[in-house]
């Protein structure tokens, strides 16, 4: 079948990408993790790229100051890389990585830089109780003082969602578990994933309660890891590779940090705004999106995304998930099916199974789309009837205080 081509002018191109395995890296420091990913990204550039080509660095990380007592990331990375170029670090909770990329795209689009390195990292493995406390930096202090944990905030969203749209229907609870099962299934072929084991709906239901109705297997894990990308001006991309991946849209929207002041607990306004702006910038429709990297920090969030983006109507996401999961007969990627056609969500396992080192996640999503669109995803390569060309990455911070959306394409259409 014919490839879907985008007509938008790309804002940047990705010519190299590297990452660490996600999981527990007890012996690695945050800056070392970032260096491993950065070295891999540099080495992945097909035609080679010298360190001196890099004009600036954009980093994204969330908790390094409190978890590892580090500050001034630019200073650390200047020492590690042996350069003295402009660097900046962006903190936007779980959306720190994608926010760094958002800023990097602005740097490229402004004409200031042609080649930049974007890195996201997080080192979270530590005393468990410490990280439970630290994660509440992504919430409002009043939520902290009311006894909420980060998972508790998403549990309040999930409880209200079930109450409004699925009360008394076992299928709704199953759908919330199926998201986790699907993402674990997708991670089976992903060599970098933290979890490579199948789980069942029953496993989810039997896993320990964390914050009712959220159980352990509804949650993404605590992870260490880093990702780095080489982002260039699209006009110079072919100097570095014959198969650059273009960033057609880079958008961001924000909303209240506090869940309790938001208009709704069952939808993320920042996602709605960012997706809408990104589709407009990329000049594509939802139906054109073939794979989506979605911020499934808790399974409810993947369902909220499907509704916020418009794949399913409000309150209908769980039905779409349930029907897609139940009717799936294949063995590899489980698509969501609806009026939009078919959509593969989180082909590498998402946050749930690939892992969620907070500041790295937004860039891991882009890394995933980069390898998928180039056909380099190996054992977890998505194969569709149509050639794979368009992917969307959705990364949110906190409980929805910020959302960043990037749309990527392998090849450009006429007029691009």
């Amino acid at each position: 079948m014919k490839e879907i081509k985008a007509k938008a002018k790309p804002c940047a191109a990705i010519v190299g990408a590297g990452r660490t395995k996600f999981g527990e890296h007890w012996y690695e420091s945050p800056e070392r993790l970032l260096m491993i990913a950065g070295e891999a990204a540099l080495e992945s550039v097909d035609h080679g790229l010298r360190r001196s080509d890099i004009e600036a660095c954009y980093f994204g990380s969330f908790l390094y100051q409190v978890t590892n007592k580090l500050g001034l990331v630019p200073g650390y990375m200047a020492r590690e890389l042996g350069v003295n170029i402009p660097m900046t670090n962006t903190e936007a909770a779980c959306a720190s990585g994608s926010s760094a990329l958002f800023n990097a795209c602005i740097g490229i689009m402004s004409g200031k830089y042609d080649v930049v390195l974007v890195g996201g990292f997080e080192k979270m493995s530590d005393r468990f109780s410490k990280i439970v406390d630290n994660l509440m930096f992504a919430g409002d202090p009043h939520e902290f003082d009311a006894g909420f944990t980060f998972s508790g905030l998403y549990a309040a969203m999930m409880a209200r969602y079930i109450h409004d749209y699925g009360r008394g229907d076992q299928r709704c609870l199953e759908a919330l578990a199926q998201v986790a099962c699907k993402n674990h299934h997708h991670a089976m072929g992903n060599d970098y994933a933290q979890f490579r084991r199948e789980i069942t709906v029953e496993d989810v239901f039997k896993s320990p309660l964390i914050a009712d109705p959220i159980r352990l297997l509804h949650c993404s894990p605590i992870s260490d890891g880093a990702v780095a990308l080489i982002i260039v001006n699209p006009e110079v991309a072919r100097r570095y590779t014959d198969t650059p991946i273009y960033i057609l849209a880079s958008q961001q929207a924000t909303d209240d940090v506090s869940l309790f002041t938001r208009e709704s607990l069952t939808g993320i306004k920042a996602t709605r705004l960012a997706v809408s702006k990104a589709l407009e910038q990329a000049k594509i429709s939802l139906k054109d999106v073939q794979i989506a990297e979605v911020h499934d920090c808790f399974t409810i969030e993947e369902i909220l995304f499907l509704e916020d983006a418009g794949f399913f109507g409000r309150g209908e996401g769980w039905r779409g998930v349930h029907e897609s999961f139940e009717s799936f007969k294949g063995s590899k990627h489980i698509p969501y099916v609806g009026d939009f056609g078919e959509l593969i969500v989180n082909p590498g396992g998402g946050l749930k199974a690939d892992g969620h080192p907070v500041g790295a996640t937004g860039l891991r999503q882009v890394w995933e789309c980069f390898v998928q669109l180039r056909g380099e995803a190996g054992n977890h390569q998505v194969s569709l009837d149509k050639p794979l060309n368009l992917a969307l990455c959705h990364n949110i911070g906190g409980t929805g205080g910020i959302a960043t959306v990037h749309i990527l394409a392998r090849s450009l259409g006429e007029g691009s």
Binding site: D145, A146, G147, A156, D212, P213, S258, L259
Partner: protein
């Protein structure tokens, strides 16, 4: 939290301060001056939701809490929708979730009432944080009480009680052998987030509701206790801030007070001082709040461990709309070391049987006799005699020793069901009698404080008591509440130690 951050949060969290744009009506919590609708700094009015109610919009049972809340185990954290709009985060207190998964839909929509509780503390050496972003279910132990002020009558020369409130925790422990506990059948137990300060605020809140009095009129607040959570830092300042006592000035209040200590009569001693202040010309018609509050302390397996309760009683003294006049007073004191706690010790020590005849009975009976002599009255002239109640036996015997009949003292022995409230003991019993007293009833009250002394007071109930009665939550109703919940000895000790 640091001290400056704590101070900032107190201003918002003690009374649930919400900003409202006067131009568009949009409300904001946390409060702010910039209106998002208007897109600029706007005219904001600030309203406290301290006396409000709301409903649970959503929530969860936290099974793996943050470090600061680990002391609570599992609990319900929720988002509460206040009565006319703003949503705030709030923890549901006095609620122990089941171990199995909870269907949150069963809780969503349930009415809730704010409660002043401890949130957490920075370890045993650090600050203790309180807020009103804690809620109990409306259809539960604490009924919702609306708060409205009434137009005050003219000042009169009759000085006495203008309002009172008693706070007894929801949880109870039954004594296996009430006989061994000298007639104490069951006792009040603080929830894990309660302490003397939270009891004091809740009792004071009820006293204001009962008196229908604007807190601005209260210019002095005394809190008597032998279990204040801080060795140095006044409980009464927390009470003043939380109840907004005194005329507001900048971010403080034009009012004063002090915490007092004299074992179980730390508060009762101040009743005469309260009345005297009201009469003092330069006090300009102000009112005084006296609170006796204790999370009564006892070492594990000490005889006291089977009589101690927890709770507080608050009394407001004034000279307008008085429900019981304070007519006579005598205090009797001697240096009798029957019961004491050294600085740094966790639990009090006592002299066993020495606390009886040479201590309690000697001082209480003497004070009763002296005050009757001064008033020219005899036991027959009283409807009730209310005494400090370390157990059910002592006050009964002391009353009889002073010449009273059993039916004058029996109705006052609430100690059987609530235990010894230490500083709150005689005051709670007085409140329990005012709940049922009729105009014209004369009441003799005598407290007791180890160390040792007794304050004896004579009150006469006025007609004004009838109009205010509907605004009390009677002591008996709290004792008999169908929502009271029993805990085992282990839980009782654990929660008590946290206070």
């Amino acid at each position: 939290m640091s001290e400056p951050v704590t101070r900032r949060k107190i201003l918002t969290d003690y009374r649930i301060r919400v900003a409202r744009c006067e131009l568009c009506g949009k409300t904001y919590f946390p409060p702010k001056w910039f209106c998002n609708v208007e897109g600029r700094r706007s005219r904001m009015s600030f309203r406290d939701y301290f006396y409000s109610k709301g409903f649970l919009y959503s929530g969860t049972i936290i099974r793996r809490p943050t470090n600061r809340f680990e002391y609570l185990g599992s609990y319900l954290a929720g988002i509460v929708c206040l009565e006319d709009g703003p949503r705030i985060p709030g923890r549901i207190t006095d609620f122990v979730p089941p171990e199995d998964e909870v269907n949150m839909s069963e809780f969503i929509g349930r009415g809730v009432v704010p409660r002043f509780r401890k949130t957490y503390e920075d370890g045993p050496q650090g600050l203790i944080y309180y807020s009103s972003l804690n809620f109990s279910f409306l259809e539960d132990y604490y009924p919702y009480q609306p708060y409205a002020t009434i137009k005050l009558s003219e000042r009169s020369d009759k000085i006495g009680i203008v309002g009172y409130g008693v706070y007894l925790p929801k949880f109870r422990i039954k004594n296996k052998s009430p006989e061994e506990a000298q007639g104490v059948q069951e006792r009040t137990v603080p929830f894990a987030d309660e302490d003397t300060t939270t009891f004091a605020v809740e009792a004071g809140k009820r006293a204001l509701i009962h008196a229908a009095l604007d807190g601005r009129y209260i210019k002095k607040c005394f809190v008597g206790s032998e279990s204040t959570p801080y060795a140095v830092k006044p409980t009464m300042a927390t009470v003043i801030q939380a109840l907004a006592l005194g005329e507001p000035y900048e971010d403080g209040f034009v009012s004063g007070g002090v915490d007092t200590q004299f074992a179980c009569k730390a508060a009762s001693d101040l009743l005469i001082d309260a009345a005297a202040l009201v009469a003092f010309p330069a006090f300009n018609g102000g009112c005084v709040m006296v609170i006796g509050s204790d999370n009564s302390q006892a070492a594990r397996d000490d005889p006291l461990d089977f009589t101690v309760g927890a709770g507080a009683a608050a009394f407001i003294f004034g000279d307008r709309d008085v429900i019981a006049t304070l007519d006579h007073y005598v205090s009797y004191t001697s240096d009798t070391p029957d019961f004491y706690r050294r600085e740094g010790s966790k639990y009090p020590r006592h002299g066993g049987r020495f606390t009886g005849k040479p201590a309690y009975f000697k001082h209480v009976v003497t004070a009763m006799k002296l005050v009757m002599k001064e008033a020219g009255l005899t036991p027959k002239d009283f409807s009730y005699v209310v005494l400090h109640s370390p157990n059910a036996r002592y006050p009964f015997q002391a009353a009889l020793e002073a010449g009273f009949q059993p039916d004058q003292v029996n109705p006052t022995l609430f100690v059987r069901w609530i235990g010894n409230l230490y500083s709150g003991s005689s005051l709670t019993a007085l409140a329990g009698i005012l709940d049922v007293a009729e105009p014209g009833d004369r009441i003799l009250m005598a407290s007791y404080g180890s160390g040792a002394g007794s304050d004896a007071y004579i009150f006469t109930v006025t007609k004004a008591i009838e109009e205010k009665r509907s605004r009390t939550i009677p002591v008996k109703a709290q004792i008999e509440s169908p929502y009271r919940q029993y805990v085992d000895y282990h839980t009782y000790r654990r929660w008590k130690e946290m206070g």
